[in-house]
Amino acid sequence: MTRTRSEPLRDKPAANTPVFELIDVEKTFQVPKPGRRFSRETVGLKALDGVRLRINDGASLALVGESGSGKSTLLRVLLGLDAPTDGRANYRGRPISDVRSKGTEFARDVALVYQDARGSLDPRMTVGALIAEPLRHFGIVSREEEPARVAQLLDRVGLPVDSAQRYPSGLSGGQVRRVAIARALASEPSVLVADEAVSGLDVSTQAQLLTLLRGLQQDMGLTLVFITHDLGVASYLCEKIAIMYLGRIVETGATNDVLAAPAHPYSAALRAAAPRFFEPLPEPLPGEIPSPLDLPKGCRFSTRCPSVKGDCRTRDPYLAQHGVGRSVACLHPLSDGEGLPLVSDADMSSPAAADIQNQTDTPLSRD
C-alpha cells in the first residue's frame, strides 16, 4: 500500500517536528466529592499532571503502567478527544484541538485500534462493509475500487478474502482484532494508536498479532503508540518506552535500556513482577496505587517505594535527564542493576538501541 495522496498536514512543518508533542500537559476531571454521593460539590481529579512527551515520525512508543496511571487519558489527549486543562498538546507543530476542528485530515492520519475490538465493530455490518466504511468516509478510493481495496486490506492483516462476507460475531477474538487493525489502516494513516490491542488473547494469537503489527510498522513506516501493561510486548514492539504512575511519566527512554537497567524503582518493580521462567517469585511491591484524589506528599511513589528515603516524602521529583536519551523522575535513581537481583541477561542492550538514542534526542526533562 503506497501512500500517494497529498499530504497537506505533513509538508508544512520542518522535517524534525515531532508527530506528537506534549508540553506539561495536565488533565483534571471534575468528579463528585468522595463520600458525598448526592451533593453537587465536585473536586478535581488530576488524571495527568505535567506530562512531557515527544513522539517523532516513524517512532514506536510503548506507554506502560498499571490501571489508574493515566495511560488512557493520555491517549484521549493525543487523539484530541479530551483537551488538556493546562499545557499544550501539539500534532506536527499545531495544537491538536485546532487540527481536529479543521477538517478530517487528523482523523484520517491518526488511526486508533480500540481495546475492545469487538465492541468497536457494528455487529450488523459485514467485515467488508466495516472496512469499506472508512474508505468511503475519507474518499480513499472510488466505489468501483472498493472491493479490491477491502481484499487488499484483509490480505494485509492476514485474513482470507472471503471473510469480507462474514459478521464480527462469527470471528474469533484474534480475527476481530485483525479486522479492527484493517479498519484502522483503511484511511492510510501515518500514526497508529493501539490501546491494549493484544491483551486478553491467547499467547499464540498474541504472537500472530504482534508479528503482524511489527511487520506493518516496518513496511509502512507507521508511527506507533502502543498502550500495554506487558513489558514483554513493549520490548518486542517498541523502540521507546514511557512508564507511567499516577498521572506522570516516571521513566522514559529506549525500551531495551530502560528494561535492562531501570532507573526508577517503579520501573524496576514492574520489571521484577513480570513472570520469568523458573526465577523465584519476586518480592511484590507493597500496597496498591493510591487514589489520585488523595495523592501522597512528595514523590507519588514514596508510599510503595522499596528504596524510599527521607526527602522523598517531602520533595516531588520531576522528569529529568538521566544518561543518553533517558529521563527519570526520581530523587534517588537506581544505578545500573541496583534493585534488580533478577537481571542476568547481557543481551538486552542491542546495538539498535544506541542508534535510537542518537536519532531522537529527548528534551523530556523540565529545565
Binding site: 499467547v203 535492562a260 511491591l285
Partner: protein
C-alpha cells in the same frame, strides 16, 4: 517451586482424575483427561482458551450445568466426586475443596458485605457461633493481608479494589482449611504488581495449611515460578504432564514447544508466530486434536489418539513426566 521440585510421589495422591470427559451437545469439550494431585503440591493447568482448563475445575466442583460428565475423580477419603449425590457434594464444597474464581468482583455477592459472606461460610461449614465466626473472620482477613480487618468486614465488594476483592475470595476459600484449592486464573484481571502479591498469597496460605492447589493459568512462565507440576492441555486433551522443569525444559510434545515459544520474555526479539487456530468442535479430529496444526504430524495422528506415555527422562527415580504424541520430539 524452583530449585528442587518435589519429585517423590506421596504414598497416596489426594485426587486422581481418570478419563474425565465432558460433552456439551455434540461437542466433546474434555476428552479423557487424566491427572493426579499429590498431597501438598501445586499443580498448574496450562493451555489456551478452549483447552478445558476451567472446565476441569468446574467439573471437579460439581458446578458444570447442562453438560454430560463421564469418568472418575477419586478424592482421598471421599470416593468419586463425579458420582456423588449433590447433598454430599454441597458438604464437600468449602470444607474439602474450594475454588477461587477469575473475576472476584463477579463471584462475590454485591448485595452483602464481604464480612457477612465470609462469616456465613464459617458458620455454615464449621458450625461456629456468630461471635466466634466474626473473630475468626478478622483473623482470616489479617492473614490474607487485608489491613484494618475489623472495619473491612463491613465493606461491600464494590468498595474494594480488584486486588482486595481477590484477597477476600482467598480468605473465603481457605476459611475451612480445605484439602484442595482450585484457583481459576485468579490474577489475570489484576495489574502485574498486584498479581505477584496474590500468587504469593495463595501459595503461602495453601502451603501453611498443607493443602494442595490446582492453579489454572495461561502464563507458562508464571506456572514455572509457582507450581510443582504442570499439565498442558490442548482443546480438551492432556498433551503433556509432569514436573515443571521436565515439561518446560525437556518437553516432548510439539504443542508444549509451541506454547513455550510464544511466551514473550522481556528483551526477546525473535518471536515466531504459529500458524492457524484451534479447530472448532464440529471439525475436531478423532485422534490428537493438535494434529491439524502440528509440524510433526503423521497420518495416524489425526485418526488415533496417542496414549499418555512415560517420558523416561535420564534421571533416577520415577518422574511422572508423560506425553501424548505419536511422533514426539
Amino acid at each position: 517451586m524452583t530449585g528442587t521440585p518435589t519429585l517423590t510421589p506421596a504414598p497416596q495422591p489426594l485426587l486422581i482424575v481418570d478419563d474425565l470427559s465432558v460433552h456439551r451437545g455434540a461437542a466433546k469439550i474434555l476428552d479423557r483427561v487424566k491427572l493426579t494431585v499429590e498431597k501438598g503440591e501445586t499443580l498448574a493447568l496450562v493451555g489456551e482458551s478452549g483447552a478445558g482448563k476451567s472446565t476441569i475445575a468446574t467439573a471437579l466442583m460439581g458446578l458444570l450445568s447442562g453438560a454430560k460428565v463421564e469418568g472418575h475423580a477419586e478424592l482421598e477419603g471421599t470416593g468419586d466426586l463425579l458420582s456423588l449425590p449433590s447433598k454430599q457434594l454441597v458438604k464437600l464444597r468449602g470444607q474439602r475443596i474450594s475454588m477461587i474464581f477469575q473475576d472476584a468482583g463477579a463471584a462475590l455477592n454485591p448485595a452483602y458485605t464481604v464480612g457477612r459472606q465470609l462469616i456465613s461460610a464459617l458458620r455454615r461449614n464449621l458450625g461456629l457461633s456468630r461471635r466466634d465466626a466474626r473473630a475468626r473472620a478478622v483473623d482470616l482477613f489479617s492473614s490474607v493481608g487485608i489491613n484494618d480487618a475489623e472495619a473491612r468486614l463491613s465493606a461491600f465488594p464494590h468498595q474494594l479494589s480488584g486486588g482486595m476483592q481477590q484477597r477476600v475470595m482467598v480468605a473465603i476459600a481457605l476459611a475451612c482449611n480445605p484439602d484442595l484449592l482450585l484457583a481459576d486464573e485468579p490474577t489475570s484481571a489484576l495489574d502485574v504488581t498486584i498479581q505477584a502479591q496474590i500468587v504469593r498469597l495463595i501459595l503461602s496460605q495453601t502451603r501453611a495449611r498443607g493443602a494442595s492447589c490446582i492453579f489454572v493459568l495461561h502464563d507458562l512462565a508464571l506456572a514455572s515460578q509457582s507450581c510443582d507440576r504442570i499439565v498442558v492441555l490442548y482443546a480438551g486433551q492432556v498433551v503433556e504432564c509432569g514436573p515443571a522443569r521436565d515439561v518446560l525444559e525437556r518437553h516432548r510434545h510439539p504443542y508444549t514447544r509451541q506454547l513455550k515459544s510464544c511466551v514473550l520474555e522481556i528483551g526477546r526479539q525473535d518471536l515466531e508466530a504459529p500458524e492457524g487456530t484451534v479447530p472448532s468442535h464440529d471439525s475436531m479430529p478423532p485422534g490428537c486434536r493438535f494434529a491439524t496444526r502440528c509440524p510433526r504430524a503423521l497420518p495416524r495422528c489425526a485418526a488415533e489418539m496417542p496414549p499418555l506415555t512415560p517420558a523416561s527422562d535420564d534421571r533416577d527415580g520415577a518422574s511422572d513426566h508423560a506425553f501424548a504424541c505419536w511422533n514426539p520430539e
